[in-house]
């Protein structure tokens, strides 16, 4: 980082002026090449250059919110990666998951993490959950040029709203439109099937463990009907990832805990391949 030092090795003026609390705005001044979405790409669709991240589900439960994702990344009909991590801890009380162009999405998620932490360190207090959601919206909007060339990324933001004492879910469209979702939501290629599953299994009084079970059932249903979504891989022992956020902060469920829940789902499906049924009336 030679640009970090000015004449005589001192930190250059850009580092010292009071300026902005946004890391992205700061980076745009001193090192714009590091920012995603600032590159000039040739015309035409180049989206085959990076694999696609697929299905994400999120649901709230009393006192928190849960986020889960499958592990598969695909390039066309090829499985590009079997054990990808699409969930990112954004800060103590929020997490973000990505679907769409994986390369761009991972970069955006990393930048979002730094952006939140930078703000918190500079201002001495974290952004509100709404503030985080709006910040992410403007980052997605900044990626619009790339999205038009096929590199579409849509994130799903979940967080625990401390003043309100509840978990909340925000979804986005590729132009940066921000939508608050209630109770549950799903994004990615298998989201249609996952959402149908969530709709039937969701209850307002789920415990944290039951919420994890619902998420795993929904991901199973997505993998069942969408070839780009990976189901639980019992032989390789690759299971979905589950993040939980409550007033205690962010926590990733330990792998063996998820494995146990996933085994319950898989065993249940061996009896009833279409999964649990909902009452008719």
């Amino acid at each position: 980082m030679s640009e970090a030092f000015g004449i005589g090795g001192r930190l250059p003026a850009a580092f010292m002026n009071p300026g902005t609390s946004s890391f992205i705005d700061f980076l745009a001044q001193v090192n714009p090449d590091l920012l995603p979405g600032r590159r000039n790409l040739p015309q035409g669709d180049s989206s085959h250059l990076t694999p696609d991240a697929t299905t994400i589900v999120a649901l709230t439960f009393p006192g928190g919110v849960l986020l889960a994702g499958d592990r598969r990344a695909t390039s066309g009909n090829v499985i590009a990666n079997r054990d990808m991590d699409k969930l990112f801890r954004a800060d103590e009380f929020s997490a973000v998951a990505i679907a769409g162009s994986a390369g761009i999405g991972i970069e955006l998620a990393r930048l979002f993490q730094v952006e939140l932490e930078h703000y918190e360190k500079r201002e001495g207090r974290p952004l509100s959950l709404e503030g985080k959601a709006n910040r992410l919206a403007s980052m997605i909007r900044g990626n619009l040029g790339m999205a038009l060339q096929g590199f579409v990324v849509v994130p799903l933001l979940v967080g625990y709203d401390e003043p309100r004492g509840e978990g909340r879910i925000f979804s986005y469209d590729p132009v940066g439109g921000r939508y608050e979702e209630h109770r549950y939501h799903s994004i990615g290629s298998g989201s249609v099937y996952a959402r149908g599953s969530l709709k039937k299994l969701y209850r307002d009084d789920l415990s944290e463990e039951d919420a994890a079970l619902v998420a795993l059932q929904a991901l199973y249903d997505a993998a069942d009907d969408d070839s780009a979504t990976g189901g639980p891989d019992v032989h390789r022992r690759i299971y979905p990832l589950v993040d939980v956020i409550t007033d205690d902060g962010h926590r990733r469920l330990p792998a063996d805990e998820v494995a146990e829940l996933a085994d319950t789902v898989v065993t249940g499906r061996s009896q009833r391949p279409d999964g649990p049924t909902a009452p008719l009336s």
């Binding site: 090795g9 580092f15 009071p18 980076l27 590091l34 930078h118 500079r122």
Partner: protein, 245 residues
């Protein structure tokens, strides 16, 4: 034609250094010391929002005494430097040494180039995976860096505070005892014995056991509890009989 006065370079530097030292000594002290679970920062600070101690990065914190606007400027620059380095490479690649160097270069350049030196003294501390890997750097107004082993006191009557700290310092002590040591040292300020209360203390730790970001402020109820605990542990800061020499 009038002759300009000749002032020798030695005299200029000496005047600048005296000026900076005086400015720094006007404020109140801050101490940084190691305890069994990490590094403890304690500053005598009446304000609850204008901090002397802050987080720079995952395992690195910053403490400063002197003029607020000047060290606040350094803090912001450090946060920016650490965040952009960590984003360009990896979070593990941001080190306390790197930040100490950047600060030393900056303060050194300001001291030699401008008429008014900055009246600040800062500490950059990094908590390691093991106590041996802990690093504490003290950077003074002229850009000199001192690699401190165990503890640092700065600002106010730093010498008195240092000798009080030396008497009782124990790197293996638990947090409550370390806080008692720090409060004992800070109460020696200005040759008077002051009663320190939670309201006038700014306390933070770099806690080795924490995940992700190791920095944590100790304030409010938690600080009251810790002070009560440190008084109960037998080393009452106001109790020890010795007086100033």
């Amino acid at each position: 034609m009038s002759m300009p006065f000749y002032v020798s370079p030695e005299q200029i530097m000496k005047d600048k250094a005296d000026y900076a030292r005086k400015g720094i000594a006007r404020g109140r002290s801050a101490v940084v010391l190691r305890y069994d679970g990490g590094i403890l920062f304690v500053a005598d600070n009446m304000s609850r929002t204008l901090h002397k101690i802050s987080e720079l990065y995952d395992r690195i914190a910053f403490a400063a005494v002197g003029r607020y606007n000047e060290f606040e400027n350094l803090r912001l620059a450090g946060v920016r430097y650490a965040d952009s380095h960590g984003y360009a490479y990896d979070r593990r690649d941001v080190t306390g040494q790197m930040l100490a160097n950047a600060y030393a270069q900056t303060l050194g350049a300001v001291f030699t180039e401008s008429n008014k030196p900055w009246e600040v003294e800062i500490v950059v501390a990094e908590v390691g995976d093991t106590p041996e890997a802990d690093q504490i750097y003290r950077i003074t107004f002229d850009g000199s860096v001192v690699d401190e082993r165990d503890f640092v006191a700065m600002g106010g009557s730093a010498e008195r505070v240092t000798s009080a700290l030396k008497e009782r310092y124990d790197g293996e002590a638990p947090l409550a005892t370390a806080l008692a040591t720090a409060m004992h040292a800070l109460s020696h300020e200005n040759g008077e014995r002051r009663e320190l209360e939670a309201a006038s203390l700014e306390v933070a730790v770099l806690d080795r056991a924490r995940e992700h970001r190791k920095f944590r402020r100790v304030q409010g109820e938690r600080l009251n509890r810790l002070i009560a605990e440190s008084r109960a542990s037998g080393t009452r800061p106001e109790e020890s009989g010795d007086t100033e020499t």
